[in-house]
């Protein structure tokens, strides 16, 4: 994807062109807005909005940096960073209402936090400790947060897309002023429930927004091996509703496009697919080694589209939010993250009883028997 293309609302040809700037020097591409345009796009409190955007993206970045560090030290078992995707998470979260539902993919935890999931509670989840609401049953980065309507996710790809559609059906049936959001990556567009979800949503014109965060890689598989379609956005055509492609590294663009899309969906006009083009600026996860499959230098080039860097470069140009203030904010967020981590790291693992809870509401045989003989089986000396 050449640099200028992500913001084009229509599909680009599948030309096999490099999807990152081909030519060094590798400089950050600032967001292209002046004050007037920001004021037009973001409304009167535009400085406030910018602050909110920056704070949100920075929180994600600080968290990723800390957690990847902890993972390398062996203090958490796994981490799925969202570095490079912050603009899309923040832009989306900012146009949601509290009644909206979120069905996330792997890299949307920032949305849960911005919707009100307590940072320390999230840290408990990352450590899978006794205060984790899911009792340490899931790998890190798979939080559940009913209070902010952030659905529990699996590691199976694309299955959540049709869940978002089922919830959207409920929203429509109960006439609730809310939108159901399905987030998924480029790889998920090949999975079964992308098809079932898009198709069902189209048939009933449901209030659901499909957000494809196209970060160029499904682990090691690039876009051109994922689909022969000219873009992921064009897939919406086959389901009878609009698809749009946006620059997912531009938080202003994400916010304004998704706000308009949400308003349209809320009006009863039916679903919409947004392909948010962005770049995965880390390995797929803490277990992945991109040097096995990425062209040499790809990631360095992609960093020209670091959403945080682009935003900061714009701030520099506008002179609205000086570096000293930005630094102070970073330090403040980092302190909050460190405190949350410290609190979570000292908590004990989940109590052993929790092994036997939450499979069915009331455990059935043989689980009851397994639970009752647990102490005898686990205790005592052997041999």
């Amino acid at each position: 994807m050449p640099p200028a293309e992500p913001s084009a609302p229509t599909a680009s040809p599948a030309d096999g062109a490099p999807r990152v700037p081909a030519v060094p020097p590798l400089e950050i591409v600032p967001l292209p807005y002046g004050k007037k345009e920001l004021s037009d796009r973001l409304g009167p409190p535009w400085e406030e909005r910018l602050h909110q955007m920056y704070r949100g993206m920075l929180l994600g970045r600080v968290l990723d940096t800390r957690m990847l560090g902890l993972q390398r030290q062996g203090r958490v078992g796994f981490y799925g960073p969202a570095t490079g995707q912050e603009a899309t998470s923040v832009g989306a979260a900012m146009c949601m209402s509290g009644q909206d539902w979120v069905f996330p993919g792997l890299r949307e935890q920032l949305i849960a936090l911005l919707r009100g999931l307590d940072l320390t509670l999230y840290a408990h989840h990352l450590f899978g400790n006794d205060l984790d609401t899911a009792r340490g049953r899931q790998m890190p980065c798979h939080p559940s947060a009913r209070e902010v309507r952030y659905a529990s996710m699996s590691s199976t790809i694309g299955t959540q897309i049709i869940h978002a559609v089922g919830t959207a059906y409920g929203i429509q049936l109960r006439k609730e002023p809310a939108v159901s959001w399905a987030f998924f990556g480029d790889g998920a567009t090949s999975a079964n429930d992308f098809h079932s979800g898009m198709n069902f949503a189209g048939v009933w014109k449901l209030p659901v927004l499909f957000v494809c965060t196209n970060n160029q890689w499904a682990i090691s598989v690039p876009n051109e091996k994922q689909t022969a379609a000219p873009s992921f956005a064009t897939k919406a055509d086959g389901y009878g509703f609009p698809g749009r492609r946006i620059d997912g590294t531009d938080v202003v663009e994400v916010f304004t496009t998704l706000s308009a899309a949400r308003a349209r969906v809320l009006s009863g006009a039916g679903p919409e697919l947004i392909e948010s083009v962005l770049y995965r600026l880390t390995p797929h996860s803490s277990s992945d080694d991109p040097s096995r499959y990425q062209p040499k230098g790809w990631m360095e080039k992609a960093k020209a589209y670091d959403p945080l860097g682009r935003f900061e470069a714009m701030l520099e140009k506008l002179g609205v939010f000086p570096a000293s203030e930005r630094e102070a904010l970073r330090a403040d967020l980092d302190a909050k993250v460190r405190t949350a981590i410290q609190e979570a790291e000292v908590m004990p693992p989940p109590r052993t009883d929790s092994l036997f809870e939450d499979t069915l509401k009331v455990p059935a045989w043989p689980l009851t028997e397994e639970r009752d003989s647990f102490d005898k089986e686990q205790g005592g000396n052997f041999p």
């Binding site: 899911a134 659905a151 897309i161 869940h163 919830t167 409920g170 069915l360 059935a364």
Partner: protein
């Protein structure tokens, strides 16, 4: 009480649930205008409207996945999979999603979905309209597996399923949809899960069956009664949760066990029952446990009557078991 067939009883349960609870809705292929290919949902769309009785596009994963999303939202969806043979596109949704939501969210997101599906052979349906694969689901923690064999149980167990709080696979024995008839209580008739039904008491041998094998085993039992063999026929009703006490108690009394199901023998549900008896009732056994099952092949078309456990096969197995010790 009114006389009804098993499929009419299913319809009555759905009708009652939808009438008393606006959160209950049905979705599936051909269930609305057409009333279902077996007519289980006949008349429901006319009475409750298209928004609560949904003719879905043809996609089983979509049907179950959509039902999961509805349940997370707070509705009580009853999804129909037209034949159990077609459930596999939804296997991912059942195994990876439906059965895991409560567990993986620490109880924050229970996903209570009922999946109704006709199963089993004997209707000249060939490989893809006849299979019994209950063991695939019974061996997956997080879902209840229910198999009625009478109209009263069909209604009572289905209403229990709809107002339960866990996922339920409700397997309907389509071979006896219209041949099983009986009195069905009116109104909110519920049959609890995990309570087996002793169809007939007996002292010589315990016969365990469920679904469409119950009437077949019953005929075998009645024939043998005249020869002096008193078999106790136990209808399991729910495979998960299983009434393990009833299974063990019966064999402690009779000392012999014959297990009957349509599914193939290897790793079938009968293997679990046999293992339970080996663990809990070994010293009561006077003879080896015998399983009478479908053969370990795909399901045949022309020769299905030889494939399925018959009155004769079950009867001979009972005779041999009683003679063995």
């Amino acid at each position: 009480m009114t006389e009804a067939t098993l499929i009419q009883a299913v319809n009555k349960a759905l009708h009652h649930a939808m009438k008393v609870d606006p959160d209950v809705l049905c979705l599936g292929e051909d269930i609305g205008v057409n009333g279902g290919v077996f007519r289980a949902t006949e008349g429901l769309q006319k009475e409750f409207g298209e928004s609560r009785v949904l003719d879905t596009p043809l996609n089983e994963s979509g049907i179950v996945g959509m039902a999961v999303g509805m349940a997370l939202y707070g509705l009580k969806p009853v999804a129909e999979i037209q034949f159990l043979d077609f459930i596999y596109p939804a296997f991912d949704q059942i195994v990876s999603e439906l059965t895991k939501f409560r567990y993986r969210s620490g109880g924050q997101f229970p996903a209570h979905v009922v999946i109704r599906t006709p199963y089993g052979g004997g209707i000249r349906g060939g490989l893809y309209h006849s299979q019994s694969t209950e063991q695939l689901f019974a061996s997956t923690p997080g879902i209840k597996v229910v198999v009625p064999s009478t109209p009263a149980d069909a209604k009572g167990l289905l209403l229990t399923a709809i107002f339960d709080e866990d996922p339920v696979l409700f397997m309907e024995p389509k071979r006896i949809y219209r041949t099983a008839t009986g009195e069905v209580p009116e109104g909110d008739h519920r049959v609890p899960f995990g309570k087996a039904r002793i169809v007939r008491e007996g002292s010589d041998v315990s016969v365990f069956a469920y679904g469409s094998m119950v009437p077949t085993a019953f005929q075998a039992r009645q024939v043998l009664e005249k020869t002096g063999i008193h078999a106790e026929l136990v209808d399991l009703r729910t495979l998960v949760p299983l009434d393990v006490d009833a299974v063990v108690r019966s064999v402690e009394k009779t000392g012999r066990a014959v297990i009957v199901h349509e599914a193939p023998k290897f790793c079938g549900f009968g293997a679990e029952l046999a293992a339970i008896l080996a663990e809990k009732a070994l010293y009561s056994l006077k003879a080896p446990i015998v399983r009478v099952t479908g053969y370990d092949t795909p399901f045949p078309y022309t020769l299905e009557n030889l494939y399925l456990p018959s009155v004769d096969r079950i009867g001979r197995a009972i005779q041999r078991t009683v003679a063995a010790g």
